[in-house]
Every structure is written in structure tokens, then in C-alpha cells.
């Protein structure tokens, strides 16, 4: 009833988790059965170890939060040698979020992850707003976005999802460019660039000054962009941005997302993903929907 496909990737249900909000899955193993998920996207992984940005890295804002973690991670080698053996037994789709500052770095990470049997897909992050070089720089211009996707496509042979930035004038144009360059799917939206000021201390609340906005505050923007992109490309769309409930997820599916990712809501309720899966099933039963694919992109 809930099974969907993203290119060659078979998901038992459309519910995945968003990179950077779910660690390597293990952090949530006490709260949920990870095998129930359609998939999960692990923390952004770069070519070498990164310390990320200085603290403070986050601030709560109305119905959302800003973060500026800056891709802190142990690097791809550490992921392959230490993390992967700990999680590869899981019966769900483990997707690696591949990040970098240069085309070479993206390709290096992608090709190392390509060799891991139990990783069926990557999410190419050309949209991180919190690193100075690369990241979002690649995702805001169609030409550069196509260039990096084309290069990664040559070295990566499984399902290639490209994560798009909402910090652009025309997201459909970027989506079409990466589709043309060989992407199997696009996921959106990454965080919206934002800022908050401590008026008493008269300084920015975050050390990096700006950060990415996530949570329910961004949901209507995300739904709109998913709808625009779904009408512009033929490849499947993965929707994310402020999803907290099954009803939110259904909104994204109707807007054109084949699967969804849950991000900030994991911080509020570490078991929210399984509640969304149960809620999707209950909604389908209550509305006489025998196959969830029947509601995808109906708007």
C-alpha cells in the first residue's frame, strides 16, 4: 500500500529522514525500529574530516530553527571504515549525503561510497548554505549544478539524488539542469538562508552570522517548490521541509513528491517517523486509497 520507487530504489514506504537531523541512524535506535523506515539519509560526508563552524550553531525561531553546523563530519574514509560496518546490516535504504567544496571532492566521496554494497543511493548536496566554498555555490547556478552532477554521474553508478537549494530565483530551472546532467531524482528543499540578532548584545545569534532555516516555518515554501519542480521534470522528486505529521507528508505527495524526508521534527519527537508511517497507512485506509502512488502529484 505504501511502497514507492525512486528510480531503482525500492522504498517500503515514502518516509525517509533528512541529512544532518538523524546522525547515522544509530542515535535513534532506542526510540524506533530503523527497519520500518523507507530509508534514511546519513550526515553530510566530505572528502576529509571537517570540524564545522564555531558555536553557537543554532537558534530557535518562530516555528523553526536556524542552524549553521557547517558539515562537521569525520570524512568519507572514516564513514566507510567505521560507521558503515555498524549500520550496513539494517533492512532499510541507507543513503549517504555527499558534500564537498570542489567537483573533485564530490567525485572522490561519490566513488568511495559507490563501492559500498549496502548503500543503494547518494544524495548529492549542492545546497549547503553554511560552508563558504562550494556547497550552495554549486546549487544556485544551472550551469555549475549541471557540471558537478555530470562529473559525479561518471563515477557513481547507483541511484543519484541531487539535493536542491531553495535560495534561488527559479528552482525548476536548476532541477531541469541536473535532470539533463543525469540525476535520477531531486530532493528539496535544503534550508532557507536566514539570520537572527540578539538585540540586547547587539550581535548575531550565531557565530557564522547566517544559517539555514528549517522546521514548520518553511513548509509552505517547500510544498510550493516541490509542486513547481514536479511539473518541470520527469524524474521523481523527494520532498522535505517542515514535515511533522502524516498530513504534512500527504501534502508533499499530492504536490508531486514520490517520497519525503523528515528533518527537524526528529528533534521534537525522536519517534515521529514511525508515527508518520502509521499515519499514512491509516489515512490511506480511511480514504479508500489502496496504493499511495495514486495520490502522488495529483495537484
Amino acid at each position: 500500500m505504501l511502497a514507492v520507487n525512486i528510480h531503482n530504489l525500492k522504498l517500503k514506504n515514502p518516509v525517509m529522514t533528512a541529512s544532518g537531523t538523524f546522525g547515522y541512524g544509530e542515535e535513534f535506535a532506542d526510540f524506533i525500529d530503523l527497519n520500518r523506515l523507507g530509508g534514511f539519509v546519513v550526515k553530510g560526508t566530505t572528502g576529509t574530516h571537517r570540524e564545522g563552524n564555531p558555536y553557537p550553531r543554532m537558534v530557535e525561531t518562530p516555528s523553526g530553527m536556524l542552524n549553521s553546523v557547517g558539515l562537521q563530519n569525520g570524512g568519507v574514509e572514516k564513514f566507510c571504515k567505521e560507521v558503515y560496518p555498524r549500520i550496513k546490516h539494517l533492512d532499510t535504504n541507507i543513503i549517504v549525503n555527499v558534500s564537498g567544496s570542489s567537483i573533485e571532492e564530490y567525485c572522490d566521496v561519490a566513488s568511495q561510497v559507490d563501492a559500498l554494497d549496502r548503500i543503494p543511493a547518494i544524495e548529492l548536496n549542492i545546497s549547503c548554505p553554511n560552508v563558504k566554498h562550494g556547497g550552495m555555490g554549486f546549487g544556485t547556478q544551472p550551469g555549475m549544478a549541471a557540471e558537478v552532477v555530470e562529473a559525479v554521474r561518471k563515477v557513481y553508478h547507483k541511484t543519484l539524488i541531487v539535493k536542491l537549494s531553495p535560495n534561488v530565483t527559479n528552482i525548476a530551472e536548476i532541477a531541469k539542469a541536473v535532470e539533463g546532467a543525469g540525476a535520477d531524482s531531486v530532493s528539496l528543499i535544503n534550508t532557507l538562508l536566514g539570520m537572527a540578532i540578539d538585540i540586547e548584545r547587539r550581535r548575531p545569534r550565531m557565530a557564522n552570522v547566517t544559517g539555514g532555516l528549517s522546521g514548520p516555518a518553511v513548509k509552505p515554501v517547500a510544498v510550493r517548490m516541490v509542486w513547481q519542480v514536479a511539473h518541470a521534470v520527469k524524474i521523481p522528486v523527494v520532498g522535505l521541509g517542515g514535515i511533522c505529521t502524516a498530513e504534512d507528508a500527504i501534502e508533499f505527495l499530492m504536490a508531486g513528491a514520490t517520497a519525503i524526508e523528515v528533518g527537524t521534527a526528529n528533534f521534537i519527537d525522536p519517534a515521529v517517523t514511525v508515527k508518520i508511517i502509521d499515519g499514512l497507512e491509516a489515512w490511506c485506509k480511511a480514504h479508500g486509497v489502496s496504493d499511495i502512488n495514486d495520490i502522488i502529484g495529483i495537484i
Binding site: T21, G23, G52, Q72, I268, A271
Partner: protein
């Protein structure tokens, strides 16, 4: 094992204007909570608050299925929590983080230094150490007497000493100028304002004394997933929520040297 659970508030006590204490009952089999660990509290019906609030465990009794939280009202979240009454339920994710080292030899001498809201986790610690035959000296401080929310609760578990910046209670002066602070101890534990903890850590390091600090940073997930709450350590950024909140100062020289 960590769990998400609705506790029932069985007692609420106001402690001065700024502090209140909630005694929570699990109702089933509560997970053991170690001294220094914390909980993430869901704040409901407050539109300005979305994320859970990390609050240290003041005291815990796994057998009785109770734990208590000593909370300082500092913002929208804690202000909302202050309106909760006996009988209300409170949703917690717990137990979280890496707590204080309590496996130390009986007969050891420990100094517990707490300032303001940082006094909270020291009660569970003092109780646990005392039960293990450790001799505790508990040194509590605040700007003024009314900002030391609890004191008598500590008396059964060690020698209680007090200090206030304005001299309204105990030693007159900041906590690190208390004469007892200059004594030697097998271990010093501290929780409170960052400048106070750094001063305690520097003094302990200079004298070659073992010392643990309990940090507080703004936090989202509480389980080491989002990497928002990191602190500088000598090994790089570490999560306060997962690798801490308690850190041994032997890995924190960068942190305490930076005033």
C-alpha cells in the same frame, strides 16, 4: 536505554522567584539515570517554543520511579513549564548524555562546586557519592542568597558551605575565593555559570587535581545527531548532549584557558 515517556507531576514547589522544582513519577519501569545526565522536556501549548528544553536531573530514584527537576525560569520555555501543576503530565526524552564519574574509591575526598541553576545536578551526585563512602564537601554559591535555590537537601550527604557575591549568605565573595576551595581533593566536580566553571577548572589544573565540568549549550536533538551543541575540546568539537554534558578537564585545556 533511552526512552520517550509521559511522566506525571506529583509535586511542585516554588523556590524563590526564579526557581521551581518538579517531582515526576514514571508510573512503570523507569530507566536508571546517572548523576549528571539530563532530560529533554517537551514544552506544550507555547507557540514560541518548538524544541525540547534540556534540563539536568536534580535527583532520581529508579526503584521508586521518580525523578526531580530543579528549573530556573529563564525564557519562554521554562516560563511555560513553571505554570504546570501537580497532576499534569510532562513528556521527557531521557536519560541523556554522559554524567559525572562516580566510581571512585570509598574514603576519597570530593569537592562539589555549584553556582545558581548549576546546583541542580549536584544533589543526585552528592547522594550517589555519599552512598559509595566518598566524603563530600558541597560548596554552593550565587550572586545573592535568594539565588541559591536549595541547600538543606545537601546536608545529609556532606559538609555544606555557602558563598554569595554580596555577602548575604555564607562567605562574602565569589565562590572560588572560599577558603575551602584551596584545600586539596581527590576530585572536584563543578556545574554553574561558564566563567565560574572555567575558574574552577583552571585552579584544579594548576594544582594537578582531577576535575569534571558540566556544560550547557543550546541544543536541538539531545542525542548527538544534529551537532548543534558542540563545545571546543582538545580533541576538536564534541557534542555537549552526547559526549557531555560532563567533561574531564584533562581534555578541556583549550576551553578553560579561553576566558
Amino acid at each position: 536505554m533511552k526512552e520517550i515517556h509521559d511522566f506525571r507531576i506529583i509535586e511542585r514547589r516554588q523556590l524563590g522567584e526564579q526557581y521551581f522544582r518538579l517531582l515526576l513519577k514514571h508510573g512503570g519501569q523507569m530507566q536508571p539515570v546517572a548523576p549528571g545526565q539530563f532530560v529533554e522536556v517537551l514544552v506544550e501549548d507555547e507557540p514560541r517554543v518548538m524544541l525540547r528544553r534540556p534540563i539536568s536531573v536534580h535527583d532520581a530514584d529508579a526503584e521508586a520511579g521518580t525523578l526531580s527537576l530543579l528549573v530556573q525560569i529563564v525564557g519562554n520555555g521554562t516560563r511555560r513549564l513553571a505554570t504546570l501543576a501537580e497532576g499534569d503530565s510532562l513528556n521527557l526524552v531521557y536519560p541523556l548524555g554522559h554524567g559525572f564519574t562516580t566510581a571512585i574509591p570509598a574514603g576519597s575526598k570530593a569537592l562539589l562546586v555549584g553556582g545558581g541553576a548549576g546546583i541542580a545536578p549536584l544533589l543526585h551526585l552528592a547522594k550517589t557519592l555519599h552512598a559509595g563512602g566518598v566524603h563530600c564537601t558541597v560548596l554552593l554559591g550565587g550572586r545573592t542568597a535568594s539565588l541559591i535555590p536549595v541547600q538543606d537537601d545537601f546536608r545529609p550527604f556532606g559538609d555544606l558551605l555557602l558563598a554569595t557575591d554580596d555577602g548575604s549568605l555564607g562567605h562574602h565573595g565569589i565562590i572560588t575565593t572560599h577558603p575551602a576551595f584551596a584545600d586539596t581533593y581527590d576530585i572536584i566536580y563543578t556545574c554553574g555559570p561558564t566563567p565560574m566553571m572555567k575558574a574552577v577548572a583552571r585552579s584544579a589544573a594548576e594544582r594537578g587535581l582531577r576535575c569534571e565540568v558540566s556544560l550547557e549549550n543550546m541544543m536541538a536533538c539531545g542525542v548527538g545527531a544534529c551537532l548543534c551543541c558542540v563545545t571546543d575540546t582538545d580533541q576538536g568539537h564534541r557534542c555537549v548532549c552526547k559526549d557531555g554534558p560532563v567533561f574531564d578537564i584533562s581534555t578541556m585545556s583549550k576551553w578553560y584557558s579561553n576566558k
